[in-house]
């Protein structure tokens, strides 16, 4: 007996299978959300660190971090007019990346093993060192060991003083201050003898004050570009952009622009990258 219905059903099934195959063909690539594909970027920076990231009264941001971020975004194909900067204090950097309120963070953000579990870091784009700032006429402090018995600024929430008194067990006398800018006033008023933290931060504050950096570095920090955890393509692209920033002389120019007058010894060759993970 002729059974066309059955035969037609077979063909219809085949047509359905073909349609599925067609749909599958164009739906394998998922949306990665990498900064590589971004048309515009929201970048987290500091608002209160002269020389690195400072928010001016007119709402614009300026500093080494801001310039580096602008250059790197340009290398990713995002022009300055499509960048939005956003104040991102130290305490919220991981959260801001996780929640996507910022696409990347360039805010004196040190790469640590612990943070690497939550954030993918490109870079470091610079390796600052902890150093010590003293009054310009003070010759008694030439290295970190000379802080023994001296009055050292202890900034609330910062770990830098620990590196002196706890990690190295140097018996400096700690004087509390709410911010590094308050330390500068204490130093000028001779209420403390020294401020010790990342040399770039010191250099930013030193500008125009009667102080000097002693150029006796004793740690290596690693300022990295924070990205959403897992954005390996973005991280690799940024590492290439950082390499380019050093090769084309931009890094040297920016370092000189922001810290050239501080008397700080600056490194103008590309840092050793951390590796994307």
């Amino acid at each position: 007996m002729h059974n066309p219905r059955l035969a037609r059903r077979g063909l219809a099934l085949a047509a359905a299978a073909a349609a599925v195959a067609a749909a599958a063909g164009c739906a394998v690539e998922p949306d990665t959300g990498s900064v590589v594909d971004a048309r515009s970027l929201t970048i987290g920076v500091k608002a209160d660190q002269p020389g690195l990231g400072l928010r001016r009264p007119d709402g614009r941001y300026e500093g080494f971090d801001v310039d580096v971020a602008t250059y790197l975004a340009g290398r990713l194909g995002v022009p300055p007019e499509r960048i939005r900067f956003r104040t991102t204090p130290s305490s919220v950097r991981e959260k801001a990346l996780r929640e996507g309120t910022v696409d990347m963070v360039v805010a004196s953000y040190s790469i640590t093993a612990k943070r690497k579990t939550q954030v993918t870091f490109a870079g470091p784009y610079y390796v600052p060192h902890q150093d010590t700032l003293v009054r310009a006429d003070d010759d008694s402090i030439r290295g970190v060991r000379d802080l023994e018995g001296k009055r050292l600024c202890q900034v609330t929430g910062s770990n830098s003083w620990r590196r002196v008194t706890e990690e190295r067990k140097i018996a400096a006398r700690l004087v509390e201050a709410p911010t590094y800018s308050a330390c500068m006033d204490l130093l000028a008023a001779s209420k403390i003898d020294a401020v010790s933290t990342d040399d770039l931060i010191l250099a930013g504050f030193a500008a125009g004050r009667p102080v000097k950096i002693i150029n006796a570095p004793f740690t290596d920090e690693k300022y990295g570009v924070g990205l959403h955890k897992g954005d390996l393509a973005g991280c690799e692209a940024l590492n290439r952009a950082i390499t380019a920033m050093y090769q084309d002389g931009t890094a040297a120019r920016l370092l000189d622009k922001w810290f050239g007058e501080s008397g700080l010894k600056l490194t103008t060759s590309v840092p050793q990258f951390e590796g994307c993970s």
Binding site: P4, A14, V20, V28, S269, Q272, G275, S277
Partner: protein
């Protein structure tokens, strides 16, 4: 590649009838276009039995062609993936890793030579250190050539290689100068005159700030190329597997549809040729999907258990050698002792990171917490889980075979003994007994050198275990692909022949 356009009802096989006649019936049924179309189909003989058989046959053959095309394309992707990760770039990237290691060890040998001064037999001895220095320099040159080759036309990378080679020239000049001053001063171990220290500082700073970062970044960057190509190729293999599955299903549905149609129309139970063709198509699809799954697996193992681990462990090895040299630098340059202690700690942390909690992150804390971290590598961990990070720490979390797991444990145990010696050496140095500190640091029989060499051997064995896993995965991948260039085509031809053989007698009944 997308197969859909050939689905039969929409595109009637032109061979099945002449060109469609103009629809004279249109005037009689002006209402619905659909009805008209249906009538047109009827008029051109599509609803005749031979018409249906011809359409079904053509569609089936088209589906078989699609199945073969999908399989061949996926085989090509799998082969490409294996070639990149397993043979070319993967191996080259691992080779550039030796650049960093060789450079870093050159500086380590120089530190030892300067530290021992005129006491030429301390440690491995001046002569042996010089020999190693020369060997590492040759290795560095070879690896730089290799890196330049991988860089290809990538200008930024080529420039980095050039900068490394230029820097190496300056470095060697500074080292030559330091060694000359060192020989002239004829100092006892550990008592370097300031001009030697000053010159060595220039050399080691150049190495640390300019040469090593570039060498390290080169390996990372070419590793990134491998990662990208791996991700693309593996995604292509998996997408290919889906296409093979779907086109295989399509071919099977059509074959079975044809079989059912013929059975219904001609009142025969089974058409043997078609049944064989169905089995053939089923075999190609099932074997193809299975083979591609296996290939995706081999690729993943080669990348994750092989390539990634080998790269990470080679980094751990290079950083460990560099940290060990920081002990020599700590002893030879007391003015920078604090800095070298800190860089030693930083390197130790990047090899094996232990969370200090509330304690200050210094060597003292590290010495205290390390044994607990090392115990957490035992297979049956007692007590609370210890979070370890860093290059050796992250290995712990990876999926490892038993051989890699036990070698990893042995490696971290040996690492702990290196740190034990470091602690003793620093205690001696802080107490002011520099002579004893230097003797411990240079002791090959039972001291720091012995412990470090043991650790280095364990680490090399661990790397070898991952190398073996890598080689196994690559071999399995290559073997799994053997024959797949010809097989799909041959199978397709056989299936096509069987289909034609199956329908031909039935069509003949209408002649």
């Amino acid at each position: 590649m997308t197969p859909p356009a050939t689905s039969p009802p929409a595109a009637p096989d032109p061979s099945s009838s002449g060109p469609p006649a103009p629809p004279p019936l249109a005037a009689q049924a002006p209402a619905v276009r659909r009805a008209r179309t249906r009538r047109r189909f009827r008029r051109v003989g599509l609803r005749t039995v031979p018409g249906w058989i011809r359409i079904g046959t053509a569609a089936t053959l088209a589906a078989v062609v699609l199945l073969v095309a999908a399989t061949m394309a996926a085989v090509g992707d799998a082969r490409e993936g294996m070639r990149t990760v397993g043979h070319d770039a993967g191996r080259q990237v691992m080779a550039t890793g030796t650049l960093y290691f060789a450079l870093s060890d050159m500086d380590a040998q120089v530190a030892d030579i300067l530290l021992i001064g005129r006491e030429h037999d301390l440690g491995i001895g001046r002569a042996e250190s010089l020999r190693r220095y020369e060997r590492r320099r040759a290795e560095a040159n070879r690896a730089a050539v290799e890196a330049a080759q991988i860089a290809g036309r990538d200008e930024a990378r080529r420039r980095t290689v050039r900068e490394v080679l230029d820097g190496l020239g300056s470095y060697e000049r500074l080292v030559g100068e330091a060694m000359l001053l060192d020989r002239q001063s004829d100092h006892p171990a550990g008592e370097l005159p300031p001009n030697v220290v000053e010159t060595y500082r220039k050399a080691t700073d150049l190495m640390k700030l300019e040469l090593l970062p570039r060498a390290y970044n080169l390996t990372l960057d070419s590793g990134a190329t491998v990662r990208r190509s791996y991700e693309t190729d593996r995604a292509a293999v998996l997408a290919g597997r889906l296409r093979v599955g779907l086109t295989g299903a399509l071919a099977l549905v059509l074959l079975i549809g044809l079989q059912v149609y013929l059975a219904a129309r001609f009142r025969r139970l089974v058409n043997p040729a078609l049944a064989l063709a169905t089995l053939g198509a089923l075999a190609v699809a099932v074997l193809g999907v299975g083979m591609l799954s296996a290939q995706a697996g081999h690729l993943k193992r080669a990348k994750e258990q092989g390539f990634d681990s080998i790269l990470a462990l080679n980094r751990a090895r290079a950083i460990s050698h560099s940290a060990f040299a920081d002990e020599s630098r700590y002893l030879l340059d007391p003015g920078r002792a604090d800095t070298y202690e800190q860089t030693f700690l930083d390197k130790a942390l990047s090899v094996l990171y232990v969370d200090p909690g509330e304690r200050p992150l210094n060597l003292e804390t590290y010495y205290d917490l390390l044994p607990g971290a090392v115990r957490s590598y035992e297979r049956a961990p007692g007590g609370p889980p210890v979070e370890v990070l860093g290059l050796l720490g992250e290995e712990k979390g990876n999926s490892l075979g038993p051989s890699e797991r036990s070698r990893l444990h042995a490696t971290v145990q040996a690492y702990q003994r290196v740190l034990d010696n470091d602690r003793r050496m620093r205690e001696l140095a802080v107490r002011g007994d520099r002579r004893a500190a230097i003797e411990l640091r240079m002791d090959r029989a039972s001291g720091a050198v012995a412990a470090f060499d043991a650790y280095d051997r364990r680490l090399a064995l661990l790397i070898q275990a991952h190398q073996d896993a890598f080689d196994r995965a690559v071999r399995a991948g290559d073997d799994g692909l053997a024959g797949w260039d010809a097989l799909p085509t041959a199978a397709a031809l056989a299936v096509a022949a069987l289909v034609l053989a199956g329908v031909r007698p039935r069509l003949a009944e209408f002649r």
